[in-house]
Symmetry: C2
Subunit: 192 residues, 2 copies
C-alpha cells in the first residue's frame, strides 16, 4: 500500500458514521453526581468504565461544558449510580437541563459530600486521582472510597441503539471469563 | 464529622466489595485486537468507553501484563469489535490464554495493520493518541480512523453479574437523551 493511502486511511471518520456504530455498544445507564459550589449537580451518562480492582478504580467521561464537571473539579469527588430499569424516570430527569434533584431523595456522602441517590441499583463514591482532557471531554479517573448495592435481584436499565432496554430473563451457560474488564487472560493470567 | 472519620472514609474499598458492585454495571462485550511483533493479538473486554464524537474518540482499559498491550504499543493502533449474541463463542475463545485466531476469519486493516474480525456486529479501528497508566492497567485513548457495521438488526452480546446476557425484545418508549455518553444536557446543551 502506498504512503498516500495510509495517510488517507488515518483521517478520523465522520461523527455521523462513528455515532452510527458506537450506538450499538450496549451499556448500563448511570447517573453521575457531585457537589458543586451552588449545590448538588448531576447528569445521565453511559460513559463509565471500570479500570482496576486492586486498587478499585473507575473512570467517567464528561463534556467539559457541563455543570457536573465544575462540581467534580470543585469537590474532587463524584458518585456513580447504577440504575435499575425501574429508575428510568431518574435517567430521563437527569438528562434534562435542570431541576435534577427536585423531589429526588438523596444524602450527602460523609467524607466527600457527593450526593448519593437513595433509590438506585447501586452506587460508587470516588475521589479524583487524575483528570485527562480529551477533545471536548474530560476523563475523571477515581479511586473508589465507598460503594453499596441496594438491590439483590437487580434488573438494570440499559441503553442500546438510542433507546432504553432491559435484559432478557433467559438464563445462559456461565461465562468462562471472570473479569473481562482489563482482562489479562490473553497470557493466561486469570485473576488471582 | 471529625477529620479522623474523613480520613477513614477516604480509604479505598476492598477489591471484593468493589467487584460485588461493579459487576452490576451492564456492558456490551467486545474483542480488542492489535498487530503485535509476533502476529495478531487480542482479548475479550468490557472496559471500552466512548469519549467524544467530534472528533470521534474512544478508550480501552487493558491490563499492562497482556500481550495485547504489547501489540498496541508496538503498532500504535487497535481495533474494537462489538459482538453479536451469536458471537458468544468468539468471546469465550478470546478470553482463553492463547490460540485466539485459530480458525477465526480476519483481515488486516490497510492503514494500521490492526486485525479486523470478519464476523462481528461492528468494529472501530483506532490510532492511539494518548496512553495513561492507572494502577495495573493502561488506558489507550484512540482516534477512530475506520469503522463499520455488519448487522442492521443487531442482537448484542451483553455481560452482567458475571454472565453473558441478551436484550429483552420488549420495545420501550423512545429515550429523551440523544447522546448519554459525556452528556452535556445538564446545561441544556443537546448535541448540535
Amino acid at each position: 500500500m502506498s504512503q498516500r493511502e495510509v495517510g488517507k486511511e488515518q483521517q478520523p471518520v465522520s461523527p455521523e458514521l462513528f455515532r452510527d456504530v458506537i450506538r450499538h455498544l450496549a451499556s448500563g445507564v448511570t447517573i453521575i453526581t457531585s457537589m458543586g459550589s451552588g449545590g448538588p449537580v448531576g447528569l445521565t451518562a453511559t460513559a463509565v468504565c471500570s479500570v482496576s480492582a486492586k486498587p478499585p478504580m473507575l473512570l467517567v467521561s464528561l463534556n467539559t461544558a457541563s455543570h457536573t464537571v465544575e462540581g467534580v473539579k470543585a469537590s474532587g469527588a463524584f458518585a456513580v449510580h447504577l440504575l435499575s430499569h425501574a429508575d428510568k424516570a431518574y435517567a430521563e430527569n437527569f438528562a434534562l437541563p435542570e431541576h435534577h434533584f427536585d423531589g429526588v431523595s438523596y444524602r450527602a456522602d460523609q467524607a466527600t459530600g457527593a450526593p448519593i441517590l437513595n433509590k438506585a441499583l447501586g452506587y460508587l463514591v470516588c475521589v479524583v486521582e487524575n483528570a485527562v482532557p480529551v477533545a471536548d471531554h474530560i476523563l475523571f479517573i477515581g479511586r473508589v472510597v465507598g460503594c453499596g448495592l441496594n438491590d439483590k435481584q437487580p434488573h438494570p436499565l440499559l441503553y442500546f441503539d438510542r433507546n432504553y432496554r432491559k435484559l432478557s430473563s433467559e438464563t445462559e451457560t456461565p461465562a468462562t471469563i471472570l473479569e473481562p474488564w482489563g482482562s489479562a487472560q490473553d497470557i493466561g493470567m486469570v485473576s488471582a
